[in-house]
Symmetry: C2
Subunit: 328 residues, 2 copies
């Protein structure tokens, strides 16, 4: 019997989850829930229903795990504690500072309804968090480094688009190669914000906009760009679409540490992701943790969990015997 | 209260565990057990006892977790099922093909005595296995690659030393950089054994030995060298000690896969270890899993486990709250 999955929210992430389900034989998409008019929404999976979010609770016996594909700013803080009343749920809540509060809310609701809710699933938070944890646990006397990119930052691209005179824009976050090399060499350097990442902007101007003034405004924008070496390129809308249409991302988690009585031996752990599509990879992670939620629930567990709490074997469709024989 | 750790077997790995314990404030070394004469063994930790292995069972109420530091060929298949009768145990059993059998033996003994035994802990099997599992689960339509090195292979160095006329020797396994690059580029290549790794040998000859004949013998040795491009350097004993005295190792686990309806988006996951000391890093992993064994036991669990079964948070001395706030 397949794990019956629901998708709530059909943007880039929801579509990614839909595609990811097709790569996992033990899963099927039961329904997509949307805030739009369901009759106007066309999805890729013929066998799945398209429903209004208002109807979601009525599906509580026909869906095993609901993947919540909304945003972290306003959607998930409301949705995850709400829908865990009806389903086991997975979300990709990524506002790091608010995770403890979100965890508490989801945990209370999940325990009351005897469901499992796994929050903050994806790659950061998610796979990067796991690698920070492993690094800290294996090399207690060491130092952590997380670098992001090369990839598109949605928040920074949005900030560019809010500038008067900017028609469209895309921003890439780029790790500084020499900083990565310094970490790999075992120097345990301290970096300023500027030394770790650069920012590259591709901007389409409105007719008659003042390029020099806009470039100044970008480079001095507090929080977003002022603390970085920022490059601005003005290009046409056509070039933006053809050359910068994707949503690549990725990054590096490194742990550099020492062992031995005199700390005489140095070690480096490096984890790297290089992703053509940020939402599709995040979706793949969500689906693997949906399987884990289903298994934890089968064992009778409930409450809020994060990637740090999940036995890795629960992510795989294979049995413990198969994993030990083939992959350990 | 500290977790009281015992070490059984005081070679490179046992000494590494002793050093690793000092980096973890929640642990203390209670005793080292040796097959040698205990009075002839001097250890680095003044507060710890040195005992004969024969006395180990008498320590069953004074040690929480016993780390078994013997070899996989003959020691661990006997020791792990035996000592799990008295203690929670951790081993680094690394004969991949015999893991299912070892698991079954340890599981039966552990369940009968209500102890936890975590087997095959280290980096391969161990952290590399975890990364193969994550890669397979997150990118089901993809391909795995494991590369080892640059590092010293104990088995291959031993094979060199068994050759008549060889006084001493060290062998390095080296991943082929162009093969790594081909994987990173997303080509999903198929490799022969020769294409993935090269082997470099540093050999000290006995007086009057025939270098050309020995080089031939090395390069044609079945299983060990015949399938590889092998380089042989003849050096002095002094040079071997000064330049090749360490036990570095490491390697790469890569997963290359695709997502999207038409598999149009490619992704790469790369995990890399670069270790100055193979036994000391392995020891650090053993200690982190000793903490996990202790916690699982506190929860009332028993039986045989592997790294694939352990919730990552159990490796850390920090609480779930701290981990979520600081590191997720």
């Amino acid at each position: 019997m397949s794990i019956r999955v629901g998708i709530l929210g059909y943007g880039n992430l929801g579509r990614g989850v839909e595609c990811a389900i097709r790569q996992n034989e033990d899963m099927e998409l039961a329904a997509v829930f949307t805030r739009r008019d369901p009759s106007a929404l066309s999805i890729l999976t013929e066998s799945a229903a398209v429903c209004s979010v208002a109807d979601a609770p009525a599906w509580k016996d026909r869906i095993d795990v609901m993947i919540l594909c909304g945003g972290s700013a306003t959607d998930l803080p409301e949705q995850t504690p709400e829908y865990v009343k009806y389903f086991h749920v997975i979300d990709s809540f990524d506002t790091h500072a608010r995770i403890p509060e979100h965890y508490a809310n989801v945990d209370a609701a999940a325990k009351e309804s005897s469901h499992v809710g796994i929050i903050s699933v994806g790659w950061d938070p998610g796979m990067f968090s796991l690698n920070r944890l492993f690094g800290n646990a294996l090399l207690p006397e060491g130092k952590d480094y997380t670098f992001w990119g090369k990839g598109v930052s949605q928040g920074h691209s949005d900030a560019l688009r809010r500038i008067e005179g900017v028609k469209d824009a895309k921003q890439y976050t780029i790790p500084v190669e020499s900083a990565l090399e310094a970490v790999r060499s075992g120097e345990n350097p301290e970096f300023s914000t500027r030394e770790k990442h650069t920012r590259e902007c591709f901007v389409v101007l409105e007719e008659g906009a003042d390029a020099a003034k806009i470039e100044e405004e970008i480079k001095n924008m507090p929080n977003y760009f002022a603390d970085y070496d920022t490059t601005v390129h003005f290009i046409s809308q056509e070039e933006l679409q053809t050359k910068h249409g994707g949503i690549p991302h990725g990054g590096f988690v490194l742990r550099s540490g020492a062992t031995g009585m005199e700390k005489e031996n140095r070690h480096l752990i490096e984890y790297r992701l290089k992703l053509d599509s940020n939402p599709e990879f995040t979706s793949s992670v969500l689906i693997a943790y949906a399987r884990a939620a289903y298994r934890l629930a089968e064992e009778g567990q409930s409450g809020c969990k994060t990637v740090l709490d999940i036995p890795p074997a629960y992510l795989s469709a294979k049995s413990g015997e198969e994993l030990r024989a083939e992959l350990l």
